[in-house]
Amino acid sequence: MTRSSWVETSLSEVPKTSHDLSLSYLSPDARLAILTDYTEHRTRVLRGEPLGLDPARFPNQPWLAPAARGLRRCPPDEDVRGYGIFTFPYGPVTGGVPEAVRFDVRTYGERILELTPVTGFKRRGVLAGIAGLPLPDAALRVERMVGNLSAAHVTAFLTAAESARGLPVPERELWTRALALELQRIYNHLHAVARVAESAAQSVGQAQVHALSEEVLRLAGWAFGHRWLFGALLPGGPDRRLEPSDRRTIGTRIARISADFQTLWDLLSHTRIFVDRIQGTSPIPRREAIRWGAVGPTLRASSVGWDDRVHAPIPPYTDLFVAVPQGIDGDALDRIAVRVGEIQSSTLAIEQILDRWPAASGEIPPEPCVEAHRGIARVEGPNGDLIYDVTMQGDRVAGASCRSASEANLPLLALGSRQSVFTDFSFAWESFGFVIAEVDR
């Protein structure tokens, strides 16, 4: 089936769809250029400077968001001092955020003047620790680095490693990765919606959406042998032939979950208290999203239609149609609405993947490498653009580094929280979907 026939038949109902085909795919050379910028950007963000990307030229320029460790600062609007202004640390152990991270909050009463996320509490040195390991052993650690995004991290890591080695990849493995990735995207988006509903005290709504995310986990457990897909994508793992009956089961179950979710979302989005809490919360204007190098649903909510699955696709996304929902205001409501749209678009992607599941496992040449023994891969994970840079020595990993979606977006939390009240913090946090395990890795 061709791209256009997918547009006509299945996508008429996807809300806020924009599929901007004018953006060109990135060539491997462009990726190398990105990498040079990348180091510079890292330093700039450490100094608290935005990337200074020019929104007028975006997105026809190759671009990349920064990565930095330690303090992520966003300079305050003005240097306010005076009676009643104080700074307090929130975290690293809080009831509201179930991961270890601290926020230094400068506040005047309820209002947040400046918020600085401080990370590094749960750093395990995973990527440093995999140097010297054979590829399957390294992948075993990468998937356990960020459990709820394991499919995205393993896919990006393996794609980069395969490109560095220059060996062909079994075709069915690529399709298995895409299936796992889309399942995990649906799970994470459901989880984000449920958490925001929870913060807004929508107890029935959050329970029902949480139940759906549990159903996705069970489906993953049934299809891949592990609820969090650990071990499912390892090189040399089981070849998934997926009999037609298995594919039917996966397709029907995911379509049902997606349809049930739409019914719940219709109810949620018509609940005034829910919408009031997230509308206008933590807005990220388009211009700021681009200047700071936001990625994923956060970027798309600020009405930039960039999605690696469309604009820098790895196989099999080169053959799939993926809808890219966008927001307008870039507030918490838009970030959630983009995720809601993506649950539908991932359901359609899964439908296509199952439809066209390769009957025989042929081999596909790897992505071209940027340098001898060094490969770079970009994958659109549930939270956005994920980049791995892997150097191989024979079949062993010589070194690996990564720029995760959460670290690219973390400065935006600081920006969006400015001038908001502290009670809105949990809506902001959950709508961005941060995963600290991929920042402190």
Binding site: A100, K122, L140, N148
Partner: protein, 249 residues
């Protein structure tokens, strides 16, 4: 509002019957168990030991707490254990992190103070986030821990149980002790996941300060990577009430 209720009713009863009846296959996936040695073939252990990425295979058996259920040893003579019997078996709860399969489990000090309800505070000391999500998932309608009187709380000052997930990093140690001290007594600590028990796939990590029991007194250990939600629920239930009984409430 009525539409919400219609929705919930239309979806029917989702909640597990556990602990009043054994869990079904989907509720207790096979990954809950570490592989075991087929009875006459203890000599296969040295053959399987080199493929194990966590060093969990020893001459007497598989160390439950260290095993991450990666299934590599299955092609080297070990066999998967059958469906989990969370009602009776030792699996949900180990007295020591290194417990072998045949060691009987026990809870350090089942406290009479927890009879009616249990408030649980989750602390992440270096996890991959999967353990966190499995634990907090106990509140969803499929497990509905509230029906058993088990609640998650947002403050350690209201907590009876500290649920520890992840490999304890040095940066988190002060916060871990402070959180434990902030809890009123009687209190218990339950460690869940291979990372918190023996480091799991990250054993020997220089950023980690294992064992956990050097920093807080641990009452129970739940193995798995991550442990299935019912194993966590079963552990909390035992801390609260002792071993689950097959009779109804």
């Amino acid at each position: 509002m009525s539409t919400w209720i219609q929705q919930a009713v239309a979806r029917g009863r989702l909640t597990t019957r556990f602990p009043w009846a054994p869990p079904n296959e989907e509720e207790a996936p096979i990954t809950a168990h570490a592989p075991e040695v087929p009875p006459p073939a203890t000599r296969t252990l040295p053959l399987a030991a080199p493929v194990c990425p966590t060093g969990a295979i020893e001459s007497e058996g598989v160390r439950q707490g260290a095993c991450i259920r990666c299934a590599r040893c299955l092609s080297h003579g070990l066999t998967p254990t059958g469906p989990v019997d969370l009602m009776a078996s030792s699996i949900a709860l180990l007295r020591s992190p290194s417990g072998l399969r045949h060691e009987p489990p026990s809870v350090r000090s089942p406290s009479p103070g927890f009879r009616r309800s249990l408030h649980v505070f989750l602390i992440d000391v270096g996890s991959c986030n999967a353990c966190n999500r499995e634990a907090l998932g106990l509140a969803n309608p499929y497990y509905d821990s509230q029906r058993l009187g088990i609640f998650f709380t947002n403050s350690p000052r209201h907590a009876d149980v500290l649920l520890v997930v992840g490999i304890p990093t040095r940066e988190m140690l002060p916060s871990l002790s402070r959180t434990y001290e902030a809890m009123p007594g009687p209190k218990a600590v339950v460690a869940i996941g291979a990372c918190a028990l023996e480091g799991g796939i990250f054993h020997g990590n220089p950023h980690a300060a294992l064992p956990l029991s050097d920093h807080v007194p641990v009452d129970a250990y739940v193995p798995g990577c991550p442990p299935p939600p019912l194993a966590i629920l079963s552990a909390l239930w035992r801390v609260m009430r002792g071993p689950p009984s097959r009779e109804g409430p």
